[in-house]
Amino acid sequence: MSSALRREQNRTIGTLLIPALAVIIIFTTVPALTTLSYAFFSWDGFQRNTFAGFENFQKLFAYPYLDQLVAALRHNTIAFVVIMTFQTSLGLLFAYAMFRVKRGLRFYRVVVFLPVIFSLVVVGYLWQSLLDPYYGPINQIITGLGVPDLAKPWLGDTSTALPTLMFINLWRWVGFPAIVFLAGLNAINSEYIEAARIDGASEGQIFRKIIFPLLAPSLTIITVLTFIGAYEWFDLPFVIGGSNGSPAGATDTLALMFYRLSFGSIDSGANNVGVGSALGVLIFTLVGLGAAFGSALLRRREVEQ
């Protein structure tokens, strides 16, 4: 191309690209790198103190933080496995159902996706009220159905709190994989399916041999996003269980612990920014590695198809 055009293009890159890059660097990249650096200093409240090497990491893996860390990590992992299994499968089920059904499709699409636009504050409070052991309708219905033993304090019992939270999460999010899968389904060339039907294949066979393999890209995206979401789980547990993961830490997550360490909690208000940042580094690494690794693995599966 002409050098004049080349020069003008370079100028344009300057005026059009640099601002966006600048904003990202100033408000995302630099803070992210700074968090990493914070982990290597000791802190006095919000004032940075002296260089502390790996001390914060050592503290993170010692009393009293180690137990909290292990519990939180366990909860995040359970969340990932359960959400991946149920939320994704249900999403696929709903997507396929919408794919097959003709009547009411538009209505179902709107309804399936509706909870995804609610704020988590709204979802959290709504379900807290529904599940209130005294006034909540859910327990009243259960009692009315004749099984009062099942009318448990779902969010208050340490053994049911986390599963209940995951259920609420599912209620709120299942529409997302559903719609992504639906788009994936609609993108499949209908000729393949028609040809298979003419050949006498059952719907089940069509699904297994044609549809599912071609949904691989959608599955990749959903898996990676679910992984990131599960290990950065914060909003819903915070709204419902508070920053301490009530009851008795049963709903504690890595992100909640990070918040506690950064800002303090109710009974003492004391925070530990150094250890919090060390935890931040840990979460970054976990999520980054997991996302990269998982997406590479799943990508390979896509290509093979």
Binding site: Q9, R11, T12, I13, T15, L16, L17, P19, A20, L21, I24, I26, F27, T28, T29, V30, T35, F94, A97, R100, V101, R103, G104, Y108, R109, V110, V111, L114, I117, F118, S119, V121, V122, Y125, L126, W127, S129, Y135, G136, P137, W171, F176, I179, A183, E203, P217, S218, I222, E232, F234, D235, V239, A255, F258, S262, V273, G276, G280, I283, A291
Partner: protein, 275 residues
């Protein structure tokens, strides 16, 4: 043939059950918002035969929802404008220019999607303080914009890339500057992409309660979701009022969604669906 029908019935039932599970809690929420609080405590299930609109009145006046709503509007709207402007420019350059470093810069921007603002909250806090942008809506707008840009640029560059290159050449031959090419010729053609970016970015910003909690101190600057958490502390046990608050907070997006459901769905899953 029978098998086919049976399957369809099965799938219809699945969708009907899901619709019930989604809609019943929402309807319960709305119904309860119209009941007087003590009455609700006694009979949570009764239908609101005599709608108690006072709950909403109280939420609006005592709960200061009017000012929260405007703040949310200002912050979300401001962020959207900034995001669109920046993403259009960056998307154009990255999508249509070939130059050394294009791929690297693109990849760098994408990694921005891996960093949630929450984990960098403390440096952001200290940084904004140093820049004198704490307790400021502008500060919040800048942080939200930065968080939304990677995905926005990704989407916009995809749209720009898909446009035929002859357009560029034709415009240049006509003597148009690069900027005019972008603004007069290409932007009108990527409007669907802009709509998608707008929806994809606006909803998490509107729904966010965490960043305002940390970055906004003055009560008059509070956003809707943040105000809701404060509201809940003050009106605990006054069920009717609480539910009315929830409904009012959820209403704007729900209304928008019902009108524009197609675009919403496309917009929110845009980052996930390729092309």
């Amino acid at each position: 043939m029978i098998k086919l029908l049976a399957s369809r019935t099965f799938f219809q039932s699945v969708l009907i059950i899901n619709s019930l599970i989604v809609l019943l809690p929402v309807l319960f929420l709305f119904n309860s918002s119209l009941r007087e609080s003590n009455e609700f405590a006694r009979t949570p299930f009764a239908l609101a035969r005599d709608p108690f609109w006072e709950n909403y009145q109280r939420v609006w006046s005592e709960g200061e929802f009017g000012s929260y709503f405007i703040n949310s509007l200002v912050i979300t709207g401001g962020s959207l404008i900034l995001i669109l402007i920046l993403a259009l420019g960056a998307g154009f350059v990255l999508g249509r220019y070939t130059f050394k470093g294009n791929n690297i810069i693109f990849a760098f921007i994408l990694t921005g999607m891996l960093v949630p603002a929450k984990l960098a909250i403390l440096p952001l806090f200290i940084q904004l303080k140093w820049m004198n942008l704490l307790d400021s809506r502008l500060g919040l707008i800048l942080v939200y914009t930065s968080a939304a840009l990677p995905a926005a640029i990704f989407i916009m560059s995809g749209f720009f890339k898909s446009l035929p290159t002859d357009l560029d050449n034709a415009a240049r031959i006509d003597g148009a500057s690069e900027f005019k090419l972008l603004s007069k010729v290409l932007v009108p053609l990527v409007r669907p992409g802009m709509a998608i970016v707008a929806i994809y970015s606006a909803i998490p910003i509107w729904n966010d309660f965490f960043l305002p909690l940390v970055f906004l101190q003055s009560p008059e600057k509070k956003t809707l979701m943040q105000g809701l958490t404060v509201f809940f502390g003050q009106y605990a046990s006054q069920w009717g009022v609480l539910f009315a608050g929830l409904c009012l907070a959820a209403l704007p997006l729900v209304v928008l969604y019902l009108i524009l459901s197609e675009q919403f769905i496309k917009g929110l899953t845009a980052g996930a669906v390729k092309g």
